[in-house]
Structure formats: structure tokens, C-alpha cells
Symmetry: C2
Subunit: 572 residues, 2 copies
């Protein structure tokens, strides 16, 4: 009886929405990544490109007009530039920092040494080639390095480090330079050690799915490689076309698959890293289980190149599963979204691969600012929307499982309305709503952006409180990875306003800290938040970090000014 | 046509084995754990109790005859005792170690201080109560501590540590004292800090499944608690009835759910730990994503209490899934087992929860030595057996998925024969074969045991090589967690023989090292393997471990003689 009723309701639902026909979409990711020549692949479009307020032309203009700047004023200048841009993007929170005087400056003898070990072609002094390496992807930070080195082997990295350490030459390790917190560009004249030439796959075990590769491998290349072998990378980022696995590991990149496969602390099996003094740390295990002493690799995962340069990585890749389904649903309130998550974890547990949410403000911003995007649900006022993705090994079973799940929750009233994608285009259009939010926000005015981890139950309280605090005409938008408790809090106003910023900060950090949240869920600390780390870490924890840094890098040459508070790292 | 053929084959298979009727076994673990009063629960029986060569009476005899021993000779004495036991169990590999002379000895002033902060009842000097705390579970190691402290709060642990550090009193942190490498008992007269009174659950988030609790909580109690809330602990050990979560974290315990949920480095979200100088490190985050500085908690996971005492733990618990199926299969060769694993990962990927293997030698040992155990397959000579368990959210779909999978592989010849459990008793009897191996080995003669991680493709080569090397009448048995590349290599001979040992060691360690394996997959280093760490870790890595140890515990008071080579730790 109950089952029949559920089917009736589903029918109503299906006929009122664009379609509930749940044809399973097998392998859509693969199909998309194969069309990557078009320049707008599914994965690429998801997060990274949409964060950019710049076109390629704007980027070139910026580079031409700002050239190479040589001290910390660059930060203010870059900020001023961004403030004055018509896009009204506001970056803030970067305190001035002084060059550490104990660092040497590059001289001709140094250049000669590097050429002798790396060869002429891998010692870059040409300004045109240095410029992009001195500039971060968001054009927020710009360094003034006069030297970029391109090692081709761990031994070369070791030689570089040993030499720089003895000469007190500061170093910034650089992968794809796609970081968002100023961690991968020089602050002053640090030597750039770019890993792009160490891009070989060393081995792949087709039974266990264990990949061993050099740090400079581009994530998308690894994705293609493992895909051909029937496996997937356990992380997937919008920046995959440029970012390198060494950088991913060094920043503990999160991304779209974290809810399913967990963090890199669980998926990285081994690392080879070169310490500040040139010591090669071989921790390149390929074992799922190894309880022999302290698990040192974790020190290098997420330490943003400040303890060593990651040169090789060993990763556990899960098998590729063929069946994917995506549903776009409406809920009445945040509590319903939470309940839906509980149910999805329980009933879809083993196939659930994404659980994203957005509020009605986020939906409106997207519908009002992005061309060609439409609400797949029939017109109605809904307060919250949820995107659920499942990935499993069997098309028909997985589809039925999702349908049964949705039938039940429609009947219970937890879901007010919903639609399941019936083809790849619909999958893409559902994801476009969620992933288009940052781009739509950029077009709507000045944006104040926060990437926070918060306890799930409290997460949306911050959005409500902020809304009450700021009033009209400021708009407060909440969306993010509900499955990971990761809130993207975005606040927009018609124009950038210092008074609004003063209303937001430090309130947002204090609120996050009070609820034991994280002020950086997935982007890291870098230069941007080095002085804000205490909002998420205790003084004792920061002190231990500083002690470890000083022990492993007594001259402080590795990625200085980043990760740890400037007042403490300056003591180096 | 092909599908029909598969069904015909299945019919043949089903009728020739005890039954292929694949009735799904929902929730069998819960059922078993609820009957734990019987003293032989499913989980209890799986691994831990079967490792014990002792009855309770033997344990008492040992304690009475050996009493409290005061120096390193205890190791030799214990070994002699074990050698002479009728069970012919051989423990080896423990080099003599000298008491570090810089450590103070307990005096009456110390006792007075501890009573003042902990109260009379929590300062234990009574020999009867000290004796079990001085003795490890395997009766291999016995210390001579005269003092056990029972703190009830983090603050009390901090007071203890600060005092002991200033007085140079050595400490051994102790949880359930269920370790297998001598890590949780004193070597000499170290003060035992037993965590059993810190056993409160602090919070549980029913939406996210995040559990926060004190370190002294017994794993089985946490399992019951989370089970009631609809979640499961991400680790499950045979020792669950005694072991404590703080000890689990400190040893990075592996266990039966690792293949599904991964290691504790992925599941532990936060830790509170007290350092050697009494500093309380609050790293008790409850967030899946937090990229703010070095992720220090990983230093405490698996460092066996040598860097700090874990006082609180925050864990991500997955939702409980209701449907479990178990199949017992026969394969012709090790390559087929590997191929079966590849297929299982791909086709059962999201529901696969165990993939165990045993060779025909292991099967024979079980059938010949354990009463009531029978081969569920029809009599035939098979070289390898595989146990596959699936756990999912939907009974009928999961069952069908497993059946379809088995049909196909029967047809392809990868599986020679097989049976799927049709009720809880059959589940139990299949697991009994796999989990009964250690017990059966103990009954078959002298046993030389090795717990190794090896690259999957090479894993069984070691068994073959060892078999060729040792010849008759020595028996070489290979089994273990194939899904985790964890080999349990066991060698039996009618009597213990030093010549056989010399044939095995150091060959087995050198072989493991040559193939970049781990000499301790899941048990840790403890006292037992402190001098063998170089077989699995590079000198540079060990040196960094020693530097970290010296930085965090300059007086070396925390769990001395363990984890790191004695020659290096003695320098403390």
C-alpha cells in the first residue's frame, strides 16, 4: 500500500518537473574528459575557471602594467588594482611583511653553480618566463624572483637545496602555481624551484591500483593515465589541467571526490621529499599497511612546501566505477538538508559521491547572472537546493537504489521537489548551477569570500547571523560541500565598502573559531592567512609547528613568510 | 546465450556445494555483538583470542613462577619459559636492553605528590594490581613497575607528565594492554599511566557521525554506542573487548575494516594529547577539512605513546549498512586470486568489505587441528581459497550484485568452486576457517610468525621461496588480508630449532626490505622490533624520527626503549 502511494507521488513529481526519467549516465566523466580539447571540460568548468574574475586578456594587461615588483608593497598595489577593477573583487587580510634580512641575494657565482648542475636551459633568468612564475593565479600576489630552476631529478633538487641552504638563499617550491592563498609564488626574490620537468609516471600496479609518479605530473594527465587502466584518481579539482600532484599533496588539496574517497592523508601511501639541507627522505612506500615508526609523510602533506620539496608520490587509486546518477532537489529548510544527508549516507552510503547544497540566494544569483542557466525545477519558492551524485558499479541497481530512496523521501516530505538527470547534458546543467555560483557572484558586485569548515549543525547559523548583522542591501549567500561540512560563505554588496568589511571581520573568524571551525577548509594558509592561523589552531599547536619548522629548516629558506605567523617565522 | 550458460554453470556449482542459496544476512554483526554475554562473540573470536597460546591457568602459573623481574634478563627468561612450554611457541628478536641510568627511581615524596593530585585510590602500588599491568597480553614481556597511576582528566595527565619530566621519571602509557610487540608494558620500572578511567563519550553528532570521546573508552563500548545511533566504528579488532581507543590510535590499529574504511590516519579527525613536559595539545578538531598549518595529529597516530599521551579522540564513523554477504571460493593459483581481487574491486567496489585469502597448507592446518571446522566446498584439491564479504545498504540489490559477479567469474574459470553463506551460522563458519588459522598453527607444532606488508604481485613469491629454502619437514603457510596486501607468513616445524630460525632470519626481513615491504604491517614496533626498523625505514627517516623524539621529549621519559633503535634512544 505504502509503496504504491510512493509511486503515485513520484509520478506527480515526475510530471511536474522537467523529467524524472532516471536513465543512468554511465561514465559521463570519462566522456567529458575525452572532449577536453574544447577547452571547457566538465571538470575544468566546475570550480577553478569559475573562480577567476579575469580573462586571459585582462591577465596580460595586468602583467604588462604591473611588471615585476620588488617588495611587499606589491600586495597593496595588487589589492589596489583589484579594488579599482570594474569587477569589484576585494582581496584583503594580507598584512605587510618585511624581507628577512639574513637571506642572501643571488650573484653570478650562484648562477654559474646552478648552470653547472642543471644545464643552461634549466636555469631561467629571462623576465618573460619569470613573470608568470612570479604571479599567482588570482593575480593577488606578485613576487620579484630573478631566478627559476627546473630540476629533472631528485638528485638535482637535492643539489639545489644543499647549495641554497649553505648560501642562505630562500626558495619557493612551485608546481602548477594554481594555489589560491599566495603559497606558490615568491614574496620577494626567493629562488623559484619549479617541478614541471619531473613529470614521469614511475610505476602503476594494475592489481592494487597503486600509482607512483614524480611530483611534477599534472593531475589531469594522471587522471587520463589511470582512467586507461580502469582506475580513477582519488582527487579531482577544477584546476586539474594545470595543477601538479606534488602541489596537490603539499597543499592537501580537497576537491570534488573527498566526500567519497577521503583526504590525501588517507590516499597518499608514500612520499619522497628533499629537506632544506638537501637530505633525500625516501618515504615512498607503496603499502596500505606499514606500522614501522612515525608516519613522517603526513608532515609533508599540507605543509605547503615549508618543510621539504615533495619530489615523488605514491597514491592509492580506486577502481573506476561505471554508473553515475545526479539528482537536483529542493528542501524547505536547512534542517531538512541535514536530514537528507543523514538518509543519503545511510541509504546510498556506498554509492554516494557528492552532496552539495545552495540556498535560495545562491540560486537567484546564478539565475540572474549566468546566461543559459535555468532552474530545472518548476517555478516555486524553495529555500534550499541539494545536488546528490551517486557513482557505483552497476547501472540498473544503482538507479533503482536512488529511485527508491527518492520515492521514500518525497513521501515523507523531506524533499519538496526534485529531478534526476536523464542524460549527460542534464548532468552538466545541474552541476553548472552549483559550480557557477562563484562566477555569478563575481558578476553581481563586490564579493567578500570565505572558505570555512564548520560543524554541520551550526554551519548555516553563521549565514543567518551574518544576514541579520549586515542587513540591506548586502546579500549573504551560503552554499558548499554539505557532505564535507564545508561552507562557502559569500557576501556581496553593490560596491566595495570598508565599513562592511569591518562588520564581517574579524566577526566571521571569531565565530568560526568559537565553533571550532577552520578558517581554511581546503585552500591552505599560504601568505594570505599566515597571521590568522590562531583562529583555528591553539598557541601550543602553532608553537609545535614552529619548533618542527626550525628543526627541519633551521635557516628558514623553504617557502618563507608562508603558513606560520610572520612574527614567529621572522625569528628564523 | 552467454548469460544462460552462466546460469547453468551456477546451478551445477550450487548443487555440488553445500548451498548457493544466497539469502542475504542483514545485520549479522549486530546480532553477534548483542550476544556477547556468551563470551565468544563473532568479533572477539576472529583474531585476538585465537592468537593466545595460553589458558587463563597457564597465565597465572607464569605470573606466580616469574613474579616481578627487574632488569632486561626478563626478556630472556620469558623467552626461555616460552621455549620450554609444551605449546612450542617461539618468540625471538628481542635484543637485551639496559635501563637508561639517567632515569630516577620512585621515592616516597613522588608517591605523596601523585596522591595529592590523583587521590589515594588512583595511585596503585599493590603488587596484585601491578602484576597484570606489568605483563603483556602474550606473556612475552614483563616489567617491574612499582607504580600505576589512574588519571581521570587531561589536567591530571598533564600534572603527572610535568612532574615526571622534572623528576626524570620514565613513563609507559597504557590502554587495554592488548598490544603484541611489548609497547604497552614497562621494560623496567617505568611509571604506568593507565587511561582506563578516562572513558567518557564527550559528544556524538548524529548528522555527520563524528564521535568525540576520551582515550580510555573501550572499542567495543564505542561500537555498541555508535551502533545504537545507526553508525559503525571504522575499525574492528579481535581485541575490541579490552583495547582502548587511545591505544588504537597510538598504535594505528588496522583490523578487519581497513579494506573498506582505510586507516586511522584517514578516520581520526582530531586528537588531544599531553606532551612529555605536560603541555596539553588541543588538536581535537571535528572537521573533515582543515588546511590550517601542519596536521600534527598524525605525529601521534602510530607513534606508540612515545611522543605524547593521547587523552581524547575525535573520529569519523560511517553509517551502519544493513546487508552483508559472505562467499567462500576456491582458485587454482595466486594469480587467479589477484585477478579475482581486481574484479571484485571493480564490480563489487562500493560494497566490498573483506577480501581474505589462504593457501591449501593453511586450509589443511585448520582442518587437521580445529574441531568442528569443515571445508564448505566439496572435497577437491584446491591451491587457494578466498573469502569475500560485502556490506551494503540494500539486501536484494547487494545479493544480486554478488551473484551476478560470481556467475561471471565461475564461467570465466577464475573461480573453480564456491559457496555463499545462507545464514549467520554459515557466515560464522566461513570466517572461522580464516580466523582459526593462528590457533590451528599453534596446535600443529613450533610456529615462526611474521606479519608483513608486501607489494601484492610479489607477496606469495616469498611463501614459495621460503618453502623451497626450508624443505621438508618444515611447513610454510601463507594467508592474510589480500585486499590490504598484508601477508601472514607462518612457518611450523615439529619442534623449535635454532637452525631453522637461522634459515628464516634475517632472510625474511631482507626479502621484505628488498621488495620495499613492511616488517610490521599492523602491530607496530614496540620493544620487539625497535632494532629492526631499518628493514622498513631509511636511515634518514629514522634519523628524523629520532630528532622529532628528542625535540618533543628531550628527557626521553615517554615510553623509553620502544619504537626507535635502542642505540639511538639511549643517547637521550
Amino acid at each position: 500500500m505504502e509503496k504504491r502511494r510512493a509511486y503515485v507521488l513520484l509520478w506527480k513529481w515526475a510530471s511536474s518537473s522537467s523529467s524524472f526519467s532516471s536513465r543512468t549516465l554511465s561514465n559521463h566523466r570519462t566522456l567529458f574528459s575525452r572532449s577536453s580539447d574544447s577547452g571547457s571540460t566538465f571538470n575544468r568548468g566546475r570550480r577553478f575557471t569559475s573562480l577567476s574574475p579575469y580573462t586571459q586578456q585582462q591577465r596580460q594587461n595586468f602583467q604588462q602594467s604591473h611588471n615585476i615588483l620588488i617588495d611587499s608593497r606589491v600586495l597593496h598595489q595588487a589589492t589596489s588594482f583589484l579594488r579599482s577593477s570594474t569587477l569589484q573583487v576585494r582581496f584583503y587580510g594580507s598584512a605587510p611583511v618585511e624581507r628577512i634580512p639574513s637571506f642572501s641575494e643571488i650573484n653570478s657565482k650562484d648562477i654559474g653553480y646552478f648552470k653547472s648542475i642543471l644545464g643552461e636551459n634549466n636555469v631561467i633568468q629571462d623576465q618573460d618566463r619569470l613573470q608568470p612564475a612570479n604571479t599567482d593565479w588570482m593575480h593577488k600576489y606578485q613576487g620579484s624572483s630573478k631566478l627559476m630552476l627546473l630540476p629533472r631529478s631528485t638528485e638535482e633538487v637535492s643539489h639545489i637545496m644543499r647549495y641554497c641552504n649553505s648560501r642562505h638563499l630562500a626558495i619557493v617550491p612551485q608546481g602548477g602555481n594554481t594555489g589560491l592563498v599566495g603559497g606558490s609564488v615568491p614574496v620577494f626574490d626567493e629562488v623559484i624551484v619549479n617541478m614541471s620537468q619531473m613529470n614521469k609516471i614511475i610505476s602503476f600496479d594494475k592489481v592494487s591500483g597503486i600509482l607512483v609518479c614524480e611530483a611534477g605530473c599534472i593531475l589531469e594527465n594522471l587522471e587520463s593515465y589511470t582512467d586507461n587502466e580502469g582506475f580513477v584518481m582519488p582527487l579531482d579539482l577544477g584546476a586539474k589541467g594545470s595543477c601538479q600532484i606534488g602541489g596537490n599533496v603539499s597543499t592537501n588539496a580537497g576537491g570534488l571526490r573527498l566526500v567519497r574517497y577521503g583526504s590525501l592523508h588517507g590516499n597518499v601511501l608514500g612520499i619522497e621529499a628533499v629537506l632544506a639541507d638537501g637530505t633525500v627522505m625516501d618515504m615512498l612506500g607503496t603499502l596500505r599497511k606499514d606500522n614501522t615508526g612515525y608516519d613522517l609523510k603526513h608532515l609533508f602533506i599540507g605543509s605547503e612546501g615549508s618543510l621539504g620539496i615533495v619530489t615523488k608520490v605514491s597514491l592509492l587509486t580506486p577502481p573506476k566505477l561505471s554508473a553515475t546518477n545526479v539528482a537536483f532537489l529542493a528542501c524547505n529548510d536547512y534542517l531538512s538538508c541535514q536530514k537528507l544527508l543523514i538518509e543519503a549516507r545511510r541509504k546510498l552510503g556506498e554509492v554516494l559521491s557528492a552532496f552539495e547544497f545552495l540556498d535560495s540566494y545562491a540560486m537567484n544569483v546564478v539565475l540572474n547572472n549566468l546566461e543559459g542557466v535555468r532552474n530545472p525545477l518548476p517555478p516555486a519558492v524553495h529555500n534550499f537546493y541539494v545536488l546528490i551524485e551517486t557513482t557505483g558499479s552497476d547501472e540498473s541497481y544503482d538507479r533503482e537504489k536512488l529511485e527508491t530512496f527518492l520515492f521514500r523521501l518525497m513521501e515523507s516530505g523531506l524533499i519538496l521537489d526534485g529531478v534526476v538527470a536523464q542524460d549527460i547534458n542534464q548532468v552538466s546543467s545541474f552541476w553548472r548551477i552549483r559550480e557557477g555560483i562563484p562566477e555569478a557572484l563575481m558578476k553581481s558586485g563586490a564579493v567578500y569570500k570565505y572558505d570555512l569548515s564548520l560543524p554541520l549543525e551550526k554551519m548555516y547559523d553563521l549565514v543567518d547571523e551574518m544576514r541579520a548583522r549586515l542587513g540591506h542591501p548586502v546579500k549573504v549567500v551560503g552554499y558548499g560541500h554539505l557532505g564535507d561540512s564545508n561552507l562557502h560563505l559569500n557576501i556581496t554588496s553593490p560596491k566595495y565598502d570598508d565599513d562592511i568589511l569591518a562588520q564581517i571581520e574579524p566577526f566571521v573568524y571569531e565565530w568560526t573559531s568559537k565553533h571550532r571551525g577552520s578558517i581554511s577548509a581546503e585552500h591552505g594558509i599560504g601568505l594570505m592567512k599566515a597571521n590568522k592561523i590562531y583562529y583555528s589552531k591553539s598557541p601550543e599547536a602553532v608553537q609545535l609547528m614552529v619548533s618542527i619548522k626550525k628543526m627541519m629548516d633551521p635557516n628558514g629558506i623553504l617557502n618563507p613568510y608562508k603558513v606560520l605567523p610572520h612574527s614567529l617565522s621572522a625569528n628564523n
